[in-house]
């Protein structure tokens, strides 16, 4: 849109000033909001390149006189950072695999298999989204405690292979948009449900699968509660719980902590920038019934 001052066709001054103000608000509001949302990122990045002296200066300054990498070196001294990156990446990738294995199967059952109980089942799945994890976490922990898998990564991995309500919901919404005629024609040709699923529905659902996979990746990369409960061996820590290393009796090492946060965030920011469309469409899809 034009940012120059428009020349109003009708010279009725009272109205046109009001219109001008309204237009200024309309043009400026998005810019203002963008700056507000970006500001914390700028602080995170600038702090990560500052010396302790500059970090604790009053008033704080965004622009540093000398950008230094000390904080980034410190990140690797304080903890086995690459190991934590590797652990987190491994868990996130396995979560994507598990989600892409299980959720489309269930979504197919809910949207494309004509059986009687599919709508009640769908309601049940939706209603489990309302269940706080605190309600189930104790017996689930005790269950794992009975198995030799306690203390390993398996308690964090296996649930992904059993579907998650949110992803199933999102995929079901997408699958419903695939015409039934297509599937019926294949059925008439004698294709089995498994072949229809694998050969027709999954290829058509690629965008939705990408969205669900991305959400699984982001969700696992950022998860805090489950690693906190299940990972007791520092060798197996993820980044989420490894970052506490910057908290000590002497206070918080803000510079190195912000450097670690930058590295921790970069993969997701990159993934988001590359796959923005999938995120936005996925979010919009779940929001509008």
């Amino acid at each position: 849109m034009a940012t120059t001052i428009p020349s109003p066709p009708a010279p009725r001054t009272g109205r046109s000033t009001r219109k001008l103000i309204a237009m200024a608000i309309r043009e400026l509001a998005p810019v203002l909001i963008t700056i507000l949302f970006l500001f914390p990122f700028i602080v995170m990045i600038s702090t990560s390149f500052k010396s302790p002296d500059e970090t604790f200066s009053i008033p704080p300054r965004i622009w540093s006189d000398h950008w230094i990498l000390d904080n980034y070196h410190r990140v690797f001294e304080v903890m086995p950072f690459w190991r934590y990156v590797g652990n987190t990446l491994l868990l996130a990738i396995l979560a994507v695999i598990g989600t892409l294995f299980s959720c489309p199967l269930v979504a197919y059952s809910l949207s494309k298999v004509p059986w009687k109980l599919r709508n009640p089942l769908f309601l049940l799945i939706i209603s489990t989204m309302m269940l706080p994890p605190q309600v189930t976490m104790i017996p689930v922990y005790l269950l794992w405690n009975e198995t030799p898998l306690m203390g390993t990564w398996w308690p964090l991995i296996i649930p992904n292979f059993l579907g998650s309500a949110f992803s199933i919901f999102l995929l079901r919404q997408f699958f419903r948009g695939i015409p039934n005629d297509l599937l019926d024609a294949a059925r008439l040709d004698g294709a089995s449900e498994a072949r229809i699923y694998w050969g027709i529905v999954l290829p058509l659902a690629r965008p939705a699968l990408a969205t669900v996979g991305l959400f699984a990746f982001v969700g696992t990369w950022t998860d805090f509660l489950n690693p906190l409960i299940y990972l007791s061996d520092p060798e197996r820590y993820t980044l989420s719980i490894g970052l506490y290393n910057f908290f000590s009796e002497h206070g918080v090492e803000w510079g190195p902590l912000m450097a670690a946060c930058v590295i921790f965030s970069i993969p997701l920011v990159v993934v988001f920038i590359i796959a923005q469309r999938h995120f936005i469409e996925g979010i919009s899809l779940t929001g509008l019934k």
């Binding site: 849109m1 909001i33 449900e193 950022t222």
Partner: protein
């Protein structure tokens, strides 16, 4: 409904129901093992004394009786209610304001939208530590800006009165997905409605109140439910705000950050009092059920669905 039920199924001798169940099997197993059984099991544990190392011992209603004497239980209820009653409407309102502001025909809209959504992909741990830094009483930018215009600079992480508002402020930064959903909803409102209202000389507010608000009310309801449910589980941000050193979770100054979910966690995994923690969990379960029912029950009064 598919028009040809069971064409292929009959060839292989599988009824549609069998096929449906087979495909849904992963979730059904997960539901039984990780949801249904745990709900039942925690109901049982809630009537026991259970320290993880010994077998559970039946003690009847004792855990629930203890709850009523437990100040920290009420404190955590209050804190969670605070975050829900203030935080959820505040977040929705701010998300809607962002969506309205971004809903312009600007070519830059996809860029604006991406920036507003971006904070939600930052790992929650990184985001929380970042905000602890921004809200640092002495060196943080927030207080510098506030002080710059001559206002009171709160001790965001030390003063029990200001710890929860600190979480609320951070929450505003994370409204991205709600804002995106609102934005999508705003685009669905037919332009003809506004054109008709403009002919009648309606101002901005009356257009918003009579057209926009009713049209997006299903989204508001959905986000309200999601928000309230999310707020009842509030954990990570408060846990990390209260963190002093290492991974020991406290409750913050005067337990002002002790959320209900944190209190369940503390009892279960720090005090290893599984019985008491299960009683807390069951109360949370009942509260979630009740609140969901109330919100959905009231919905018909103010939510307008197209074609109703």
């Amino acid at each position: 409904m598919a028009s040809l039920p069971g064409v292929s199924a009959s060839r292989r001798g599988l009824s549609p129901t069998a096929v449906g169940v087979l495909f849904a099997l992963p979730w059904l197993i997960g539901f039984l093992v990780f949801q249904l059984y745990p709900i039942a099991a925690s109901a049982y544990y809630s009537f026991t004394e259970f320290s993880l190392f010994d077998d559970p011992v039946w003690i009847g209603l004792d855990n629930y009786r203890d709850l009523l004497q437990d100040e920290r239980f009420f404190k955590s209820l209050y804190n969670t209610a605070y975050m829900t009653v203030i935080g959820v409407p505040l977040g929705l309102a701010f998300a809607l304001i962002c969506a309205l502001a971004l809903n312009t025909p600007s070519k830059l809209q996809p860029f604006y939208r991406a920036i507003v959504y971006l904070p939600t992909v930052v790992p929650i741990v990184a985001a929380t530590y970042l905000w602890r830094w921004l809200l640092n009483a002495q060196y943080g930018y927030v207080n510098q800006v506030i002080g710059g215009v001559g206002l009171y600079q709160p001790l965001w992480q030390e003063d029990p009165f200001w710890t929860k508002p600190a979480l609320l402020i951070m929450g505003l930064w994370l409204v991205g997905s709600t804002a995106i959903i609102y934005l999508a909803a705003l685009k669905e409102v037919p332009a003809s409605y506004y054109e008709a209202a403009e002919i009648d000389g309606a101002n901005w507010w009356s257009k918003f109140w009579n057209i926009t608000w009713p049209a997006i009310s299903p989204v508001t309801l959905f986000q309200l439910v999601i928000g309230v449910i999310g707020s009842l589980q509030y954990f990570t941000q408060a846990y990390l705000f209260a963190q002093e050193r290492m991974n020991q979770g406290g409750g913050g100054p005067k337990d002002s950050l002790l959320m209900y979910g944190m209190y369940v966690f503390q009892n279960a995994f720090q005090y290893l009092d599984m019985g008491y923690a299960s009683a807390l969990a069951w109360i949370l379960f009942l509260i979630s059920l009740a609140i969901t029912a109330v919100i959905l029950g009231m919905a018909t009064r103010w939510v307008h669905y197209e074609g109703d």
